[in-house]
Symmetry: C2
DNA sequence: TTGTATGCGTTATCAT
DNA sequence: ATGATAACGCATACAA
C-alpha cells in the first residue's frame, strides 16, 4: 500500500507537506505541490479513508436504514428506487453508504450502536417501524438523520404528498362518473392514516357517501390480502364501481380475483393503484395510479442529510414534500 | 465517545488489559475480565470499527458491485434479491457491506481504487460488464472477489444453472407437444450464450429443427424490445407455438403485444419466461418459468468470499452452481 | 497476569 | 514555505 510516507520519501519532503499538498492547503509552494501530486499519481497513491476517518472524526459514510417488518425491504421496487437514488446522490457528493441493521454477527447492537460503530456521519431512515424504540433512539440521538414519510420532532424529513395524491385520484375517478368508491388500505401507519383521511375528506367534499363496508384493511405489497379484500367487496349486496388498492403490487392480487369472477377491467370494474412503479405502466391495461417521486425523495434525503452534516451551524430541520403525479392509465372507465 | 481509555481509568487498569479483556484474550484473570466487561457495559462502550480496521488491516466490510450498464441495477427484482441475501449473510457473519462504484464525488476512481479506498476486505461482483477493464483489474487484483454468473481465472464464482434451466424448459414444452419453439434472447453475454446454446442443443437432441427466424435478439429487462421481437415473430409466415422470453419482466412486453393481436395465452400461444421472480407467480395466468436461486446465490457468494478472507491459506478458488427450479405455471398449453 | 511501548495512515497545531 | 510532533482508538509484541 502506498502511503503519504512513501511519497514524502520519494519527494524528499515531510509527510505533513505531502498531506497539505494533496489536500490543496494554501501554504505550500505551487511547484512543490505540483511535484508532490505528480509523484502521488506516479506511485498510484490512494488516500486511506479509514485513517482519515479516525483522524478527522468524519467518515464520509452515511448509513441507510431499511427495516421492513414484512421483510420485503429493498426487494420492493419503490424502496429499491429510493435506495438507488440515495446512493447516486450520496456518491455524487463524495459519500459512501452502508446498511444499518441490528445484530451484526455475534455482537448484538441496535441501530444507533451500529451507526456509531461504523462512524456513520448520518443516517437516512428510509423504511422502518417508527414506534420501535430502537428507531426512536436513533432519531433522537446526536447523529444527523433524515426520515422518509415520517417526521420526528426537530428532525428533517422527506414526505410524499399522500394527501394530495389521494385527492387527485378520487377527483379523477369522480370526474369519470364514479360515485361508489371502495378503498382497500394498508396497515395503519401514519401514511395510511393520511391516505384514508384524504380519501374520506375528498369524498365528503364531493358529496359522496362511503359505506363503512367499502373501507377494508389489507397489507401493503401483499397481493393475497388485497385479493381477499376484493372478494369481500364483491360479496356485498351493493358493489362499488371503482376499487382503490393500497399499492400497485397489491392491485395484482385484486386483478386475479376479479378475473376469477369473470369481471373485466375496466369494463365491469374500475381500479386505481398507488406508487406508480414502472411495472404499473408495463401492464395492460396500464394502471391508473399515483406515481410517488421516489427518485426525488431519495436524492433529497441524501442531499439534506449531507447538508446537515457539512453545515451543522446553519442547519435547521425541515420537512420537504415531494410532489407525485397522476398516471392516467386505462383502468378507470367513464360511466354514465 | 467512550473509549477503552475511559474504561481503563474507571477500572484502574491499562488500556492493553481492557483491550484484551474485551476481546476475550486467555491471559486475563477471569474476575478482572468480568469487571472490565461490566464497566464497559455500564459506560455504554462501543468498539470503533474505524480504529480497529486501521490497526488490524481488516475492515469487516465487504464491497458489493452492481454496475448495470442499462441502469436498471438494483431496481430489478432479481438483483435486489441477490443484494438482500448477500447483505443478510454478510451481516450474519459480522460484516457490513458498502457499494462499490466509480467516481466518488470529486475524486475519480475505478472500482479497484474505490474498494481499496474503503479498505474492503473483499468484493462481491454481482452484476457488471465483465469485459470492462476496470472490472478485470479488480477481479485480478489482490482483493478477494467472488463473481456471479461469470468466472475469472483462479477466482471463485457462483453460477446459476443456465444450461440445465434452459434444458428443463425446452423439455417441459416439448413434452406438452410443442415443436415450433422461438427464443427471444437478451444481449450476448456469457449467460446468454449458455442459454442459447442449451436451447439449440436440447432442441437438436429432441429432433426439433429451429428456423433461424425463430431466434431473435432483444434486451434483458426491457419489455419494449421483447414486444418488438414478438411482433416480428407474429409477422412470420409460419409462427411458433411457444415463445421463450429472455426473462420474466420482458415477457410482459410480449404479453401486451400478443393481447394487441387478440392472441390469448396460453390458448393461442404458449410462452415461458426466465428468472422466476415473485411477480411471475402473482400474474394470472401464472408464468411458466425457471426460478433462479437468487437468494442462495447471494448467500453463497457472501459465505465463500468471507471464507476466503478469513482463511486465505486453506482457500482454493471454486465455482459453485446453484440449482434453480422449474415453475410450471399456466402459460404452456398441451397441444396435439 | 498485567503493563509498556509502538504503530496503523492520516491531519492539525505549532515551530522553525 | 516547510517540518517536527502529537493525536485519533485500538491491538499486539514484548517486558515486567
Amino acid at each position: 500500500m502506498v502511503t503519504i510516507t512513501d511519497i514524502s520519501k520519494a519527494c524528499g519532503v515531510s509527510r505533513a507537506t505531502v498531506s497539505k499538498a494533496l489536500n490543496g492547503a494554501p501554504d505550500i509552494a505551487p511547484k512543490t505541490a505540483e511535484r508532490i501530486r505528480e509523484q502521488a499519481r506516479a506511485l498510484g497513491y490512494l488516500p486511506n479513508a479509514t485513517a482519515r476517518a479516525l483522524k478527522m472524526g468524519r467518515s464520509y459514510n452515511i448509513g441507510v436504514l431499511f427495516s421492513d417488518p414484512t421483510g420485503s425491504g429493498i426487494t420492493h421496487e419503490y424502496f429499491s428506487q429510493i435506495l438507488e437514488s440515495v446512493k447516486a446522490e450520496a456518491e455524487r457528493l463524495g459519500y459512501d453508504i452502508t446498511f444499518i441493521s441490528k445484530d451484526l454477527g455475534a455482537m448484538s447492537m441496535d441501530f444507533y450502536e451500529h451507526a456509531k460503530y461504523r462512524s456513520c456521519d448520518g443516517v437516512v431512515i428510509a423504511s422502518a417501524d417508527f414506534q420501535d424504540p430502537a428507531i426512536i433512539r436513533l432519531a433522537q440521538s446526536e447523529i444527523p438523520t433524515v426520515t422518509l414519510d415520517y417526521t420526528f420532532d426537530s428532525r428533517t424529513s422527506i414526505l410524499s404528498d399522500n394527501v394530495r395524491g389521494m385527492e387527485a385520484l378520487v377527483r379523477f375517478v369522480y370526474e369519470r362518473g364514479h360515485r361508489r368508491l371502495a378503498f382497500i388500505h394498508g396497515e395503519m401507519t401514519s401514511v395510511t392514516q393520511k391516505r384514508v383521511a384524504s380519501f374520506k375528506k375528498t369524498c365528503a367534499s364531493l358529496g359522496i357517501t362511503v359505506p363503512g363496508d367499502f373501507i377494508r384493511p389489507a397489507v401493503y405489497h401483499d397481493p393475497r390480502s388485497s385479493g381477499l379484500a376484493t372478494r369481500a367487496l364483491l360479496a356485498l349486496p351493493e358493489q362499488p364501481t371503482c376499487i382503490f388498492y393500497p399499492d400497485d403490487l397489491s392491485f395484482l392480487g385484486g386483478m386475479s380475483e376479479l378475473e376469477r369472477h369473470g369481471i373485466s377491467i375496466p369494463k365491469d370494474m374500475s381500479v386505481v393503484g398507488y406508487d406508480g412503479i414502472p411495472l404499473s405502466q408495463i401492464l395492460r391495461p396500464r394502471l391508473t395510479t399515483y406515481r410517488q417521486g421516489a427518485e426525488r425523495m431519495g436524492s433529497e434525503a441524501a442531499r439534506l442529510l449531507i447538508e446537515q452534516i457539512e453545515h451543522p451551524d446553519t442547519w435547521l430541520p425541515q420537512s420537504i414534500t415531494v410532489e407525485g403525479e397522476l398516471l392516467e392509465g386505462d383502468t378507470v372507465r367513464i360511466i354514465g
